[in-house]
């Protein structure tokens, strides 16, 4: 087990270098110059552009820029933004807790409600409740997320006044509730569907018949035998979804005015702030890698037949 984890952690190094290099190169081929963008629509001052580029090492060959960047990164230095010359680490550490909070709430929502719906639908396969869940998840998956965002905003924020339509203070959990629900909706639908399929399949398995024949209480059959054996695909999905919820919430964050990582990434892209983009992606890659390691370890917990050496 320990060796396995160590091996996985070592494997992260090439993945990490590969992704950062790839993103670094991709950002650099985007048209547009972040330094010239400081002047907006006005003609930039060439002397000053040259000065800023020289100070930031942006006039060096690309491979040198990358090495500089990676060397800084190893020492925990993410570099500074071009506009405003602020440490990028500060920007990320300001946005990350907000996104983490939002993602955690959305994720819990997916997990609890999604699995519950899936279990109920799976057990009562073919009944009206199963059909309702299928219909509901179909609706959620097929309608774009911003439609729900705007609809909820209008309904609960503007018309009913239950919540503030936008997030005034990104630290306030109560205000983050609605964006988190919207953000978690799609994941919830997938979780419910995966659980339902898996449950519906396993409910006919031999060990289920045995468990029923042994006279075990129904609750125990469902929770210990049925659910546990059906969770593997769900856990896989939930694991990778952590990363998506953290970094991919651009649309939801935009609608509800949440100043999280998605928003930071969007702004950085618009301004061609390469170092910020690479910085955020680096953090996201780490989150993904750790989440997928966690998922793999959870397999062994769920299914004792899976062993890691």
């Amino acid at each position: 087990m320990g060796r396995y984890v160590a091996r996985r952690l070592l494997q992260m190094i090439p993945v990490f270098i590969g992704t950062t290099l790839l993103i670094f190169l991709m950002v650099n081929v985007l048209p547009g110059d972040p330094v010239a963008a400081l002047w907006g629509d006005k003609p930039p001052d060439p002397a000053q552009v040259a000065q800023i580029k020289h100070d930031r090492g942006l006039d060096l060959p690309l491979w040198q820029q990358y090495l500089h960047y990676m060397w800084g990164l190893l020492q925990g230095d993410f570099g500074n933004t071009i506009a405003g010359n602020r440490p990028i680490l500060d920007e990320i550490t300001a946005a990350l807790p907000v996104s983490a909070r939002l993602a955690a709430m959305a994720w819990t929502f997916e997990l609890v409600v999604g699995i519950a719906l899936g279990v109920i639908a799976g057990i009562r396969r073919g009944r009206i409740i199963d059909n309702s869940v299928t219909l509901f998840t179909l609706l959620v998956i097929s309608v774009p997320i911003f439609v729900f965002g705007l609809l909820f905003q209008l309904l609960f924020g503007n018309q009913l006044g239950w919540v503030t339509p936008t997030v005034q203070n990104s630290e306030d959990m109560a205000q983050l509730l609605m964006p988190a629900l919207v953000l978690g909706l799609v994941g919830l639908a997938y979780v419910a569907r995966l659980t339902r399929t898996s449950i519906a399949e396993n409910i006919k398995a031999d060990y289920m018949r045995t468990a029923v024949a042994k006279g075990l209480p129904r609750r125990r059959i469902v929770s210990r035998h049925l659910l546990r054996n059906s969770l593997i695909p769900v856990v896989t999905y939930l694991g990778t979804d952590i990363g998506t919820l953290m970094g991919g919430a651009v649309v939801t964050e935009g609608i509800f005015n949440v100043t999280g990582v998605g928003n930071l990434l969007f702004q950085a892209l618009a301004r061609r702030e390469g170092a910020v983009i690479v910085g955020i992606v680096t953090v996201m890659v780490l989150v993904y890698l750790l989440a997928s390691l966690l998922v793999d370890l959870l397999y062994a917990v769920l299914d004792p037949r899976i062993r890691y050496a």
Partner: protein, 545 residues
């Protein structure tokens, strides 16, 4: 689950019913105060990318704050655009090149420091120096000695500009590198604000909490979230704040801000999103402002291309201008948030400032028959075709370009002779513009830095000027601009610029399309909301009910 589904439908029905009868929200809680001048205005804001400092802030969001916490030598009247002395007692000159500035007694910064001649000279020297990398450094480029502190390449050769000399606490002199009669009127731009010594002693500390000499002081600033400004009770100027303060809340999207205005969470948005324009009359009634700003959109001809620049083509260029139905396009595509252009400046200048509704004359009036005739007289379109270009990532550019081409095609009646060449990003579009790569008319949007006719003409059409991307050159035009800059009388200078503009009407180096409007919407909580020429709300005048 069945029950839940029902509930959902019921809720939707309620929502529809509510939307049909009344839009919820409205005036509720505000930051206290009832008409006694202590209420707080809650306004939308965008997070400025650069730290807020006068010579470095060149976008409107940071500019709003500078507007509230700084007062320079002169200030533009929000209604007429006229430059009025504020900190300056007088700015004298005899030759339009050497200026003596005298400042008024009694002005202080909010930290207690006095505003002196040195406050200005130090600030300007700081702003101009290349080592300080200030985005607005070029605003000081007509002061003598600028090329020493900000050379085109290499390190600076001097620390300060030789053209600035402090005479005493209240007086300093300025020598320009060439004559420029309207120079004192450019000083209302924020880059010319004075700076306290605290700025130079503890720069990092100042940036965290900027200190100025304007009607407001910054109470707190949280990057990414907002800024709280409060009325400065000891402010000595005539334009003291009529409210207790302003809370600027950061919105990442103007639609979100509009939603919050509707819900009563903020009082003022100064940018009404395009997709709400259809509802804005219903939502806000007369609490919606829509007025021309100092922005004009034009279609510039690449006169460096022989096909467009050769003699006789001016008729074709005029003809194309007359083939564009500006009225219809501004109404249908922009919902009247653009105003059809009648000259090459902006109505926000006012008549005294040089706006001339007859500046373009017939050449900007839609007249398809005349357009067709002129183009035929001029020898027709080069190769029988014209391609209109712009970036299409923002501002409905694709839509209006299609409309312009339609208008031209209909007027000429020769099929699809006008086509559109959309460019994906502004960055790409601009680099191709700066490299003079176009073979057909291309979009140019121009926002003036100060409400002066000079700023609309000289940088764009003077031979070799910084933004003359069509490479227009006309001896008579240049002479008139030179003469205007040497006039000692402002009114005469404006007249010269207007005569220069008349030449543009004959030559048509760029087709004026429309003036861009500034927009704002506000809640019933606040009153006396107005926008200045730069489309920024005049915060100090706003009253809270």
């Amino acid at each position: 689950m069945r029950g839940a589904t029902h509930a959902k439908w019921a809720a939707c029905a309620v929502a529809v019913a509510l939307a049909a009868t009344a839009c919820g929200g409205g005036a509720d809680t505000s930051g206290g105060g009832s008409g006694d001048g202590s209420g707080i205005v809650r306004s939308s804001w965008g997070d400025p990318q650069n730290p807020i400092e006068p010579a470095n802030t060149n976008e409107v969001q940071g500019g709003k704050v500078l507007d509230m916490i700084f007062r320079g030598l002169v200030k533009y009247d929000p209604k007429t655009g006229e430059a009025q002395n504020t900190v300056a007692e007088k700015i004298d000159t005899t030759d339009s090149q050497n200026f003596t500035v005298t400042i008024k007694d009694g002005w202080t910064f909010s930290n207690g420091e006095k505003v002196t001649a040195k406050s200005f000279v130090d600030a300007w020297n700081y702003g101009a120096h290349i080592d300080n990398k200030q985005n607005n450094s070029t605003f000081f480029s007509n002061i003598e000695g600028y090329d020493e502190v900000h050379p085109e390449s290499g390190a600076a050769k001097a620390k300060t500009m030789s053209g600035l000399v402090v005479k005493d606490d209240k007086t300093f002199t300025v020598k320009l590198s060439e004559k420029f009669s309207l120079w004192p009127q450019t000083l209302g731009y924020q880059a010319f604000s004075p700076l306290p010594q605290a700025f130079f002693k503890d720069h990092a500390g100042w940036l965290k909490k900027p200190v100025g000499n304007g009607p407001y002081v910054i109470e707190s600033y949280t990057k990414g979230s907002g800024m709280k400004l409060r009325k400065w009770d000891d402010y000595k100027g005539e334009d003291a704040a009529k409210n207790g303060g302003v809370d600027l809340n950061v919105y990442t999207d103007n639609n979100t801000a509009y939603t919050d205005l509707m819900a009563g969470n903020i009082d003022l948005v100064d940018d009404v999103p395009a997709k709400q324009l259809k509802n804005v009359k219903n939502d806000l009634g007369d609490r919606y402002i829509n007025q021309p700003a100092l922005i004009i959109q034009t279609l510039v001809f690449p006169l460096y291309d022989k096909n467009w620049g050769k003699d006789g083509m001016e008729k074709v260029r005029r003809g194309l201008s007359m083939a564009i139905n500006r009225e219809q396009i501004t109404k249908q595509i922009f919902q009247d948030t653009r105003t059809p252009a009648k000259d090459w400046t902006s109505p926000a200048l006012g008549d005294k400032g040089g706006y001339d509704p007859e500046g373009c004359g017939d050449a900007c009036k839609y007249d398809p028959a005349q357009a067709k005739k002129l183009i035929e007289e001029g020898g027709g379109l080069p190769g029988g075709k014209v391609t209109v270009t712009s970036n299409v990532d923002t501002g409905s550019h694709r839509d209006w370009m299609d409309a312009v081409c339609n208008s031209i095609n209909n007027a000429l009646g020769k099929g699809a002779v006008c086509t559109v060449d959309p460019v994906g990003t502004f960055a790409d579009f601009r680099s191709r513009t700066a490299q003079f790569k176009w073979t057909g008319p291309f979009r140019s949007g121009w926002q003036a830095d100060y409400p002066l006719i000079q700023n609309f003409l000289q940088p764009l059409y003077y031979t070799g000027a910084s933004s003359n991307y069509g490479k227009f050159t006309d001896k008579k035009f240049d002479d008139l601009v030179d003469r205007a800059n040497q006039e000692s009388d402002t009114a005469k200078a404006v007249e010269d610029f207007q005569s220069a503009q008349k030449l543009l009407g004959d030559q048509m180096p760029a087709i004026p399309l429309w003036y861009q409007n500034g927009s704002a919407g506000y809640s019933e909580n606040v009153g006396d909301v107005a926008l200045n020429q730069f489309s920024v709300p005049v915060y100090e005048e706003i009253t809270v009910n």
